[in-house]
Amino acid sequence: MSREAGDTVTTPDTTATADPRSAGGQGEVLLEVSGLRKHFPVTRGAIIKRQVGAVKAVDGVDFSVRSGQTLGLVGESGCGKTTTGRMITRLLEPTDGRIVFQGRDITHVSQGTMRPLRRDIQMIFQDPYSSLNPRKTVGSIVGAPFRLQNVETESGVKKAVQDLLDVVGLNPEHYNRYPHEFSGGQRQRIGIARTLALRPKLIVADEPVSALDVSIQAQVVNLLEDLQDEFGLTYVVIAHDLSVVRHISDRVGVMYLGKMVELSDAADLYKNPMHPYTVALLSAVPVPDPSIRSARERIRLQGDVPSPLNPPPACPFHTRCWKAQDVCGTVEPPMVELAPGHQVACHFPENAPADAEQQVAKAAGRA
């Protein structure tokens, strides 16, 4: 399976992820992901299980993240954004592709080798209720990374933990309290403090605010931004809320059925979305302004996202796309950089330069 999939990794030159422009300038590339795939086998049979297919949760994704920046990954359920995050943090083993962190290939490093790397790559989870052990005190939860990694701190773990609690806006005197004594927003802060303990370089945040109330979401979003400034953190933020993603990201990748369909600087993506799916997504977001609700042009997708078990061939979106033509079902559109720092995988992109379709056709090898 993996070899077969590997054969199709033919990224055209135009999409080279190392292109300095495409990552928006400043900072060196901290994380580089290329051709990343995760296929979950599907088995059937009464006695002998034979593989009858695979859920292509992630099916060839390329992107890079520069130090000190935030990459947002958006998409609807089943698009593979969470699986991608878990592969970066190596909670899941990639089926194929490469993950390079600080110039080092970590795609298949063993758990033992991964251990020191875990200091550098940390994860924030969605649910602040289930991700904290209810029987441990806050001090012990936040201090656990020090103990696990045998890190000596100058003035003892307790002091270090209290400093962390202070940094994330919690009262350091609450060191001995238990998670249930905190509200949802405070628990998310505890989770963030734990993540920060070992001064990681990269934080993968999977839906960090979606379980929180609106007013609390804003607090946590601001906190994440402050921490980024203070500690020079690099984020990969996975979220379904397009407004939140725009707010915190420098670059945004839009995923659909395991594939990256558009990758761009955040401002450009939201102003000039090129992929029809991105256009539809943005059009679907309810806008908190009643005066424009009748004036807005709406694009409504029909039906649901197809099953990742049996995704449509070539462009995964062509079955729901209003611009689709025959070619969309036969030739997979390559990622092409149609504007500085703005790549899109579509034969007939919107908001694109006049010669976009020719460029795509050339890249797809069908002049």
Binding site: E76, S77, S183, G184, G185, Q186, D213, V214, S215, I216, Q217, A218, Q219, V221, N222, E225, H240, L242, S243, V244, R246, H247, A266, A267, Y270, A280, L281, L282, S283, A284, V285, P286, V287, P288, D289, P290, S291, I292, R293, R298, R300, L301, G303, D304, V305
Partner: protein, 350 residues
């Protein structure tokens, strides 16, 4: 209700009229005042959006409207008039006959809200046949029609599927078909799209809007998402700590809100229809526990402008006062101060 009160009760003018609704739950830790004096009204053909965070009492209100609280562990008082019939004082049996027929509800999570062991069709047929004396065949035909109406392809086949065989969006459509099967005049949608993807959410919101036009029913949509209410509502009720803090027409509420909590909600959400702001303006602190709702104004501990009231916020509960046609606010701040704050401090930063 005492006899004296009963005499003073006036016949309601609106289709739905809620007067001083209180829903309290006695617990071992104390009395939880989930809803504490809520009043509003709603006409047929109009949509009311109830906005609030978790624990604001918005879902408890919706269950209260349907008379779904167990009278053993919930103390419900006040009046709910639905088309001339009072619900709080009615017998459970009387209220039951109204449920599903006159008023019905769509819930947040369509998967857990449907019985896993019965087919979609069976669940719609059941809803239809309680209130309509028809044969199973007729009810089945009706169920298929309803599924068709809410946009489920091949309804004559899907009617025999189980909920888990439907996708999330299709399940919510089926749920809507079930709620509308008896042509209710009041439809309550409690976070109907929170569990759905954004493109599916848009489909469902369109569907609710279209069906409302078709059925001319009154709709209450309960949500934490200001975007959703802005899309659907005619009026908006903002709840905080079990009370209404601001009520008004949707345009008014989004363009000239007067309660600091409403400002806070608007400032908390990043918006796609504006340029990217540098910073969000969150509300400090967390929502109050409903057991120890602060004395005075429930919002005062989190309010950035409470000190302008020289301590009144902590001691005196602000009344909900009419400040313009249909616009009511419960805030101690001076009207002029509120307008100045909104114009000078809040709106420019949104």
């Amino acid at each position: 209700m005492t006899e004296q009160d009963a005499i003073t009760v006036q016949a309601p003018r609106a289709f739905l009229e809620v007067r001083d609704l209180r829903i309290h739950f006695p617990t071992d830790d104390g009395l939880v005042k989930s809803v504490d004096g809520l009043s509003f009204s709603l006409e047929r053909g109009r949509t009311l959006g109830i906005v609030g965070e978790s624990g604001s009492g918005k879902s408890v209100t919706s269950l209260g409207l349907l008379g779904l609280h167990n009278r053993k562990n919930a103390k419900v008082s006040g009046e709910i008039w639905l088309d001339g019939q009072e619900i709080v004082g009615s017998s459970p049996e009387q209220v039951r006959r109204l449920r599903g027929r006159k008023m019905s509800m769509i819930f947040q999570d369509p998967l857990s809200s449907m019985h896993p062991f019965y087919t979609i069709g069976a669940q719609i047929i059941e809803a239809y046949r309680i209130h309509n004396d028809v044969s199973k065949q007729v009810a089945r035909k009706h169920a298929i029609d309803m599924l068709d109406r809410v946009g489920i392809p091949q309804p004559d086949k899907r009617v025999d599927d189980y909920p888990h065989q439907f996708s999330g969006g299709m399940r919510q459509r089926a749920m809507i078909a079930m709620s509308l099967s008896c042509d209710p005049e009041l439809l309550i949608a409690d976070e109907p799209t929170t569990a759905l993807d954004v493109t599916v959410q848009a489909q469902i919101l369109d569907l609710i809007r279209d069906l409302q036009k078709e059925f001319n029913s009154a709709v209450i949509i309960i949500t934490h998402d200001l975007g959703v209410v802005a899309e659907l509502s005619d009026d908006i009720l903002v709840m905080y700590g079990g009370r209404c803090v601001e009520y008004g027409e949707v345009e008014e509420l989004f363009h000239a809100p007067e309660h600091p909590y409403t400002w806070g909600l608007l400032g908390s959400m990043p918006r796609l229809d504006r340029d990217r702001s540098d910073r969000l303006m969150p509300i400090k602190g967390s929502p109050p526990s409903l057991i120890n709702v602060p004395e005075g104004c429930a919002f005062s501990p989190r309010c950035a402008f409470a000190e302008l009231n020289e301590g009144r916020s902590e001691t005196e509960r602000p009344e909900l006062r009419e400040i313009g046609p249909g616009h009511r606010v419960a805030c101690h701040l001076d009207r002029a101060d509120r307008r100045r704050l909104w114009d000078e401090e809040i709106r420019p930063k949104l």
